[in-house]
């Protein structure tokens, strides 16, 4: 309301020229306001994507760039790529299984009036999100060290369990990566769910109570359905986040080399091929493939949840 007044008032003010009136023009102002996004989108997103598509059909060497057709895509059919795909897919599924229900339940607890020390728990659960993955990854690497003296092995020792070489086994190292992701992301997802919960009108719960609903009924019949938009959002970014995971595995294995590639993710493979082996064309082909996979999964998932139907 206020803004409108200012806009209307401006013509009555002494005109100080074309440029000063520009931000107040109804035709131009919107474009100016969205231009930062459009420009940064074009420069930092659209251009790289288009260029990556082109590069994925090229062999790129300093001073020698040539088109090689689909050779880069044909090279994708190798054991390392499948391993990376497999790792990323498993990691994504596991993080989805943990990072949606757990924060949801925590958020419900934190939102409950009967819960005590909510502020304390909110901040402690959120603090990991503020730490750098690099620092956290290094600390996790030391916690999950393979010597008997590492923190977790000391702990297992209390129960007479022999020291475990965590980073030698595919299953356990995946567990470590998911643990790291959980520790870091639970807080963020709690914030999403909390904001969703606070938007649910309290009257719904009151009338449900009058109808004799217990806590479980209220959770399943009211909370869950009304949290659907937030859940879809969290699901979408989690799928993307899962497939884009790189730093965690990079830090956990102190470099991009894990035994038998048990920690190699797709992005790790892009990095390994494109940069570490200087095959930017092949790296681009992997990147485009990753983009395709995530796009397809997200579109299917959004369609499944009926997000496109709202438009009509």
């Amino acid at each position: 309301m206020d803004t409108k007044l200012t806009v209307n008032a401006s013509p009555s003010k002494p005109q100080s020229g074309f440029w000063s009136s520009l931000p107040y023009s109804k035709k131009v102002a919107p474009y100016i306001l969205v231009s930062p996004f459009i420009i940064s989108f074009l420069i930092f997103f659209a251009y790289p994507v288009v260029n990556t598509v082109i590069m994925s059909f090229q062999e790129i060497l300093p001073g020698q760039v040539e088109f090689v057709g689909t050779a880069n895509y044909e090279k994708l059919s190798n054991a390392q790529f499948y391993r990376a795909m497999y790792n990323s897919a498993i990691y994504t599924i596991l993080t989805l299984l943990v990072l949606i229900p757990v924060p949801l339940i925590f958020a419900v607890f934190l939102n409950s009036k009967t819960m005590r020390f909510t502020n304390f728990f909110r901040s402690t659960l959120f603090i990991p999100a503020l730490t750098s993955v690099v620092v956290a990854g290094t600390i996790f690497r030391l916690i999950f060290g393979e010597l008997p003296g590492s923190l977790l092995n000391e702990f297992l020792g209390l129960f007479d369990i022999a020291p475990v070489a965590f980073k030698q086994s595919a299953g356990i190292s995946m567990f470590v990566m998911v643990t790291l992701a959980t520790w870091r992301w639970v807080g963020i997802n709690i914030i999403y769910f909390l904001s969703g919960l606070q938007n649910i009108p309290h009257e719904l719960y009151e009338s449900a109570e009058i109808d004799g609903a217990n806590a479980m009924d209220k959770f399943i019949k009211i909370t869950l359905p009304l949290l659907k938009p937030v859940t879809i959002y969290v699901l979408t970014i989690s799928i993307y986040g899962g497939f884009a995971m790189f730093t965690e595995s990079y830090m956990l294995f102190a470099g991009n080399n894990s035994p038998k590639d048990i920690g190699l993710t797709i992005v790790g493979y892009i990095y390994k091929s494109g940069i570490q082996k200087n095959e930017l064309g092949f790296g681009s082909a992997i990147g485009i493939t990753l983009l395709g996979i995530v796009l397809v999964i997200n579109v299917i998932q959004l369609k499944f949840f009926g997000l496109f139907r709202k438009e009509d």
Partner: protein
């Protein structure tokens, strides 16, 4: 009124943020233009004590940076007519190599000089190398240096890099543990002797004789290089699955089966877990290149005075007792505005006698100029002789002619990668058949 001001301010802020990228670039461009002009102007009256020329250098090791800065001071003392200001920066290992690769690929933004680690070097030689050839400074010194240390940075007869060191592979014995088992390190002449000694150490102390890297290549590459094999042959074809390599891997696997050796804790000799393991006397030896000395000083202080540096055991009596492993090639990029000066400074730092003596004094590397190994400066006591004893270079002199050159080609990064991720783990941890492991690995990169 206030609101209007706010909106304007916001717009200005947004505009500056968005345009910041562009304006910065144009500033840089004009700056560097000014820079060139300054240099050109200066070249004419160079007889006067000229203005210093700025040289930018990237490295990935803070110790290297300190070394170059010290060499820049010496350069300016020796060459008052063409002084330099060296702007050296240390970046993390991967960051530096990636940024340099991208800058060279993009054709802008690269420094004058850079350090490139050997396992990455092949990446920079692909296509048309964007590095300046160094033949004019390297060739006059070829007779004084270990030639294989510049050959590894060459392509089509052109030298592109100069190494810091030979990287002679040696073996570090924990004399305290050997003493408990009544083993004399000097009696271990061959790898068969090493195995026997390992059995004694195991029986007497219950400790392992050595550790084998499962996530890195330094337990495998030097051993195959000793017997004349390699990842690639002279024509840069993959020979990872050669018989010599299979025999070597089988030997290492047997050490593990006999419990004489274990996979290095943490996967390699640069892992925190390993440092703790070795430092507390859990392993009687480690075979690593000469440059590993610094890690003992830094991470394994408790072993001070207990470590003896010896030549590696040979495969047969009279065989080669070392291998040239690892390395860092200093390069001059084609993007440099002062290629000649940069080359001269690189040569001064890494090929001159003075530079080579400083390489030992400051970095503890085995310098590539063999004629400085006997010089008095290298006998002076320093932190390395305090730790390892006085006769470090006697060992080096013994083995200087027993080093095969390694073959570095475009497939080296891939070969090294598959050794680090597949070969060693499968052979040493999972105890799979070495022949099959190496065959799979070779097939995956051919």
């Amino acid at each position: 009124m206030r609101k209007r001001l706010l909106i304007l301010l916001t717009l200005v802020l947004i505009a500056t943020t968005v345009l910041a990228g562009c304006s910065n670039n144009s500033n840089n461009a004009s700056n560097s233009n000014n820079g060139t002009n300054a240099v050109n102007d200066k070249k004419d009256p160079s007889t006067d004590s000229a203005k210093p020329t700025k040289l930018v250098l990237w490295t990935f090791n803070a110790l290297h940076q300190t070394f170059y800065e010290a060499m820049a001071v010496k350069w300016n003392e020796n060459n008052p007519d063409k002084p330099i200001t060296l702007e050296a920066t240390t970046y993390p290992y991967d960051d530096m190599h990636n940024s340099l690769l991208v800058a060279l690929q993009a054709g802008t933004g690269a420094p004058d000089l850079a350090d490139i680690e050997i396992s990455k070097f092949a990446n920079y030689l692909k296509g048309e190398p964007q590095l300046a050839e160094l033949n004019d400074v390297v060739e006059p010194e070829l007779s004084n240096i270990v030639q294989s240390r510049v050959d590894i940075y060459a392509k089509d007869g052109k030298y592109y890099g100069i190494d810091f060191h030979i990287g002679a592979a040696v073996i570090y014995y924990n004399t305290e543990l050997l003493g408990k088992a009544n083993v004399n390190a000097d009696d271990i002449k061959t790898w068969a002797d090493f195995e026997e000694a390992g059995k004694k150490v195991l029986a007497a102390t219950g400790k392992v004789m050595t550790t084998i890297e499962t996530g890195d290549q330094w337990s495998f590459w030097p051993l195959i290089s000793q017997r004349g094999s390699d990842f690639l042959d002279k024509d840069k074809k993959v020979i990872l699955d050669s018989q010599a390599n299979i025999d070597t891997l089988t030997y290492l696997q047997n050490l593990v089966k006999e419990k004489i050796a274990v996979g290095a804790p943490g996967g390699g000799h640069h892992a925190e877990e390993y440092y703790g393991f070795m430092n507390s006397g859990e392993s009687a030896s480690v075979f690593m290149p000469f440059w590993y000395m610094g890690r003992f000083l830094e991470y394994m202080p408790d072993l001070k005075g207990k470590i003896a540096i010896k030549p590696m055991p040979a495969w047969e009596a009279g065989g080669f007792r070392s291998a040239g492993m690892g390395g860092t090639g200093t390069v001059v990029t084609k993007q440099s505005k002062n290629i000649d000066l940069a080359k001269q400074f690189a040569a001064f730092s890494k090929l001159s006698k003075e530079g080579n003596i400083e390489i030992w004094k400051q970095l503890g590397f085995d310098p590539i100029r063999t004629d400085v190994w006997d010089s008095p400066e290298l006998k002076e006591a320093n932190k390395f002789s305090d730790y390892f004893g006085d006769n470090i270079f006697d060992t080096l002199n013994e083995i200087k002619d027993e080093i095969n050159a390694v073959n570095i080609g475009e497939l080296t990064p891939a070969a090294s990668d598959v050794v680090k991720t597949q070969v060693m783990t499968r052979a040493i941890i999972d105890l799979e058949d070495p022949a099959k492991v190496l065959k799979d690995a070779a097939d995956s990169i051919k």
